[in-house]
Amino acid sequence: MAAANLSNIKADVPYGTLDLLILKTLDTLGPLHGYRIARRIEQVAENLLRLNQGSIYPALMRLEQQGWIRTEWGVSETKRKVKVYSLTRAGAKQLGIEVANWERATALVARFLEAKA
């Protein structure tokens, strides 16, 4: 397999970005339950991302422990009692920091890639 069709390759979630994706999702769409968050990330990524939907739950737990998101009990489309996650004020602030970090990192990498000998 010498060459591959780039559009068919799905990447894993880049290391450390899942938190950012979740925070951004909640920031854009407001309170959501777990499945909706996972679906939203997949939809935005279209077919670029290979996400194990289950992996967002440990991440949600981590964000909640940090105090960046909070949970309430709500009801899903299938009429089940589920946890609904929303961004806290600290979470909104953290999102800003993470976005800035991400932009700095990508800008840095981009400059290296553009740099000529």
């Binding site: 777990g34 499945y35 739950y57 440990p58 899903s76």
Partner: protein, 876 residues
């Protein structure tokens, strides 16, 4: 890792089941939603379900990640190991019971001993700023001495040094709360006495200035305990009257519960100096004070030295100075301090031995658990996890041992308190408090490391395949060298303790052998205090002495009766100067006041001249009898070879408040010396004077009985009651009890260390037994083969016993070497016994070997009865 993070994770530990259910619900909801969407997109139900699951990913991995995220893994492991540990111990109850018992014994004894050490030596006094509390003395070339009234008043004026300075003079008074006359102890103090302690009465008030001036209305403050026992804690007690020696005293205050309840004294009243006491001749006051804030002990001492120089003209004893000592130090004598440290060392040794036993048991158990460990390792447990698990099991043991130990310590303290209370300062409160618990926690931690580390390292070690391939029986004692070394250590430590105990017991025996110089058997003693109100004159007191002896001698069963001030072995109150004619230098002698019956009742023979007679009374020449020691001293120093008939000047205390005065006396006889101060102290120079010529209020009755002295107590009480129904008898003791109490300082540490030594020997023997029994059960096959090829039972027995003996002998030599190294520690407590006394050390060695061989006999006999046929068949 912020606080919030820590808290949520710790909380998660307790909400574990809840959180697990929540997660389960979330997964279900998620899968359901995904399924619905897939259905809506047109997939079949089966396809929809599998698509949802595929998208979700591995559920088990996610759950594990979730658990890791939400909680503290090592804590969860700890909890799990803890549960597992309890289970493992429950499966092996014999092992658990023995270990917990051993640890409880060791930890309990240590906690109890620490309570004592803490209360007596470590804890600050239970008063505010105790470092400012001092005792003030006159210092003589021979030591500290009480001071005189006028000098005390000079000190009291030094308000730049002392915030408060008070006298403290013990007194006894007759009172009759609730019918029977009783004699209670109290203290005569200055009005600022409680300011020295910074203690405020719980009820009422302290003394007011001026209440110690002549003519002030008599007031009294009572101890909390006395208020509780005699007035049932009546809150309306204030301003009521308490009769003391027939005089009504207004109760103005009740002290708070605590330290003052542990003192003899139950009442405190102001000391009012009489005109006669205003002198610088009578040394009778031992003041205690509180330094002004900011004045250091050194500064106080310097200023007092300066004051002494200023007072040089009026003070008679030109070579005496003033001394300020910390109050705390004066409370605990050197002997007590040493005894306590010694006992603490001994009890720590017992704990070490107990730990060694537990370690040995755990090692033995480890051999049989190797397989279990190997299986766990094969299933993926890391070595660290295995060690952690074994240590946690050990922690369970230690905690259970500690709980049982604290209960034991509480029991020990309750049992021992009454026995030791009289030897401890009144500030010492024995009991389990936070400090003792903290000490226990520390002890448990060290025990955990001592008993857990070695077995868990040893048990978790080793090659997996080798262990799994071995058959159970042949995995014989590979720890044998370690376990033998531990037993040798136990034996050595025990030998150290036993040798110490043997030396102390020999000392005690020597002390008990000392001739007290008086009869001990069939003697009953008691004390009375003649109240000045009822016996105002010397004549009335002398009349009482005469009547009481006559009356007592009429009691059936009583052979002799006598009156004296002070008893043998309890010290002599008065030290006076005796001046010989033509000799400028006075001789300091102890002055005892006795009646004509004293020498006869106590069996003290008159060597030359005569004893005190009925004819030596007021009006005749004041008579003095000296003891042999004094006669020897006079002959040696002043060449006075025949003292009888010599005139000497002697300072003699007066009756009531009358001060002492010099009296021209004649020596009429010499008696054999009695031990006045204690069996261990050298004979003192003693002069006796007739009570009829120098009467006192505070006297003792000495009664010699034909049969048991205890049986005569009731009749004697009745006889005293007949003479004076208001006169209470106190300190009713047989002479035997007096003697026992005088040796208490020696008996207490001896028995305590003896008990610890016995315990240590027992534990060491147990350890030896354990190792041999284990070895025998592991070597049954070997023994069987040996016997099959011709070894006799006898050979096997002697083989095991000689192995025990070799351990014992090595331990013994190490222990004896330790004893030699520690001689200095023990020396000060020994009496007429060298710290290397060969007989005592030999006895200790023989004792240890005997008890060790006894312990070895059981497994040795078992080995000797191994039947080769059975063993070899077992092997199949």
């Amino acid at each position: 890792m912020n606080l919030r993070w820590t808290v949520t994770r710790l909380l998660a530990l307790f909400r574990k089941r809840n959180l697990e259910q929540e997660l389960e619900g979330e997964i279900l909801a998620h899968l359901e939603a995904a399924e619905q969407e897939a259905l809506a997109a047109g997939l079949s139900p089966a396809e929809a379900r599998s698509a949802a699951q595929r998208q979700f990913g591995g559920i088990a991995q996610m759950k594990e990640a979730h658990r890791d995220q939400r909680s503290v893994q090592w804590l969860e492991n700890l909890v799990r190991d803890f549960r597992y540990g309890i289970g493992a111990l429950a499966r092996d109850p014999a092992f658990a019971t023995i270990c917990i018992g051993l640890l409880a014994l060791g930890i309990g004894a240590n906690a109890a001993m620490f309570s004592l050490v803490d209360a007596v030596l470590l804890k600050p006094l239970p008063f505010p700023e105790p470092e400012r509390m001092v005792r003030v003395w006159e210092s003589t070339p021979m030591g500290r001495n009480p001071t005189t009234t006028l000098t005390f008043l000079d000190w009291k004026r030094q308000t730049g040094i002392f915030e408060a300075l008070s006298v403290e003079s013990p007194v006894k008074a007759a009172t009759s709360v609730g019918g029977d006359p009783a004699r209670v102890s109290g203290k005569l103090v200055s009005t600022d006495y409680f300011q020295v302690f910074r203690v405020k009465p719980q009820l009422g008030r302290s003394f007011a200035p001026g209440e110690d001036q002549p003519g002030a209305a008599p007031v009294v403050i009572l101890s909390h305990a006395f208020w509780q026992t005699h007035f049932a804690g009546d809150p309306g007690i204030l301003n009521r009257e308490l009769m003391l020696d027939g005089e009504p005293h207004k109760i103005i205050g009740i002290l708070p519960a605590g330290s003052f309840d542990r003192e003899d004294a139950v009442f405190w009243k102001p000391l009012i100096f009489t005109r006669d006491q205003m002198n610088r001749g009578q040394h009778w006051l031992a003041p205690i004070g509180r330094l002004r804030r900011g004045v250091s002990l050194e500064q106080a001492q310097a200023r007092m030295t300066a004051l002494r120089a200023n007072l040089n003209d009026v003070i008679y004893q030109k070579d005496w100075g003033f001394a300020v000592d910390p109050f705390a130090r004066m409370l605990v004598g050197d002997t007590l301090r040493r005894s306590i440290y010694l006992a603490f060392g001994a009890v720590a040794m017992v704990l070490l031995i107990a730990c060694a036993n537990v370690t040995n048991l755990a090692l033995a158990r480890g051999v049989s658990r190797r397989k279990e460990m190997a299986v766990r390792a094969a299933l993926g447990a890391s070595r660290g996890r295995l060690i952690a698990q074994l240590l946690t099991e050990n922690l369970v043991l230690c905690l259970l041992g500690a709980v049982a130990g604290i209960a034991l310590a509480d029991l020990l303290l309750r049992a021992a308190s009454p026995w030791v209370a009289s030897s401890l300062p009144f500030t010492a409160n024995l009991g389990i408090d936070l400090r003792v618990l903290a000490f226990t926690a520390l002890a448990v931690m060290s025990v955990l490391l001592l008993t857990g580390l070695l077995p868990s390292l040893k048990t978790s070690f080793g090659s997996l395949t080798k262990t799994l391939n071995q058959s159970g029986r042949t995995s014989s004692g590979s720890h044998a060298p370690i376990r033998r070394a531990i037993v040798i250590g136990e034996v050595a430590a025990s030998v150290l303790l036993i040798s110490g105990a043997a030396l102390l017991f020999k000392s005690l025996a020597k002390l008990q052998e000392v001739d007290p110089g008086v009869r001990i058997d069939h003697i009953l003693t008691m004390s009375v205090d003649l109240p000045l109100a009822a016996y105002p004159s010397p004549q009335s007191a002398i009349q009482f002495y005469r009547t009481i002896t006559r009356k007592l001698e009429a009691v059936p069963g009583v052979e002799r009766a006598a009156v004296s001030q002070g008893l043998p072995l309890t010290g002599v109150q008065w030290g006076e100067y005796m001046r010989l004619p033509g000799v400028p230098e006075p001789v300091l002698v102890r002055l005892k006041l006795i009646d004509p019956g004293y020498f006869g009742a106590l069996g003290i023979p008159v060597l030359t001249g005569r004893g005190i007679g009925a004819g030596d009374r007021a009006g005749t020449t004041p008579a003095v009898v000296i003891n042999q020691e004094l006669a020897r001293q006079l002959a040696k120093t002043f060449k006075m070879t025949s003292p009888v008939g010599q005139r000497v000047m002697l300072d003699v205390p007066g009756y009531g408040t009358v001060p002492e005065s010099p009296v021209n006396t004649e020596i009429i006889g010499v008696v054999r010396s009695e031990r006045t101060n204690g069996l261990n102290t050298p004979l003192e120079l003693v002069a006796y004077m007739p009570l009829a010529q120098a009467p006192r209020q505070d006297v003792n009755l000495v009664v010699r009985t034909r049969s048991s002295p205890v049986a005569a107590i009731a009749a004697i009480r009745a006889a005293v009651h007949e003479i004076d129904p208001n006169l209470p008898l106190a300190d009713v003791r047989t002479m035997e009890q007096v003697k026992q109490q005088s040796t208490l300082w020696m008996r207490q540490p001896t028995w305590v260390i003896g008990a610890f030594a016995a315990l240590a020997a027992l534990l060491a023997a147990l350890g030896l037994y354990g190792v041999l029994a284990h070895a025998v059960s592991q070597q049954r096959r070997e023994i069987g083969i040996r016997m099959a090829i011709g070894a006799s039972s006898r050979d096997v027995l002697s083989h095991i016993l000689s192995s025990a003996l070799s351990m014992l002998l090595v331990g013994l030599s190490v222990g004896l070497a330790g004893t030699f190294a520690l001689t200095r520690v023990l020396k000060t407590l020994l009496f007429h016994v060298s710290a290397l006394d060969p007989a005592a050390l030999a006895a200790a060695a023989v004792f240890m070997i005997l008890i060790g061989l006894l312990a070895a006999w059981v497994p040795a006999a078992r080995a000797a009865h191994v039947s080769p046929m059975t063993v070899l068949r077992e092997e199949g």
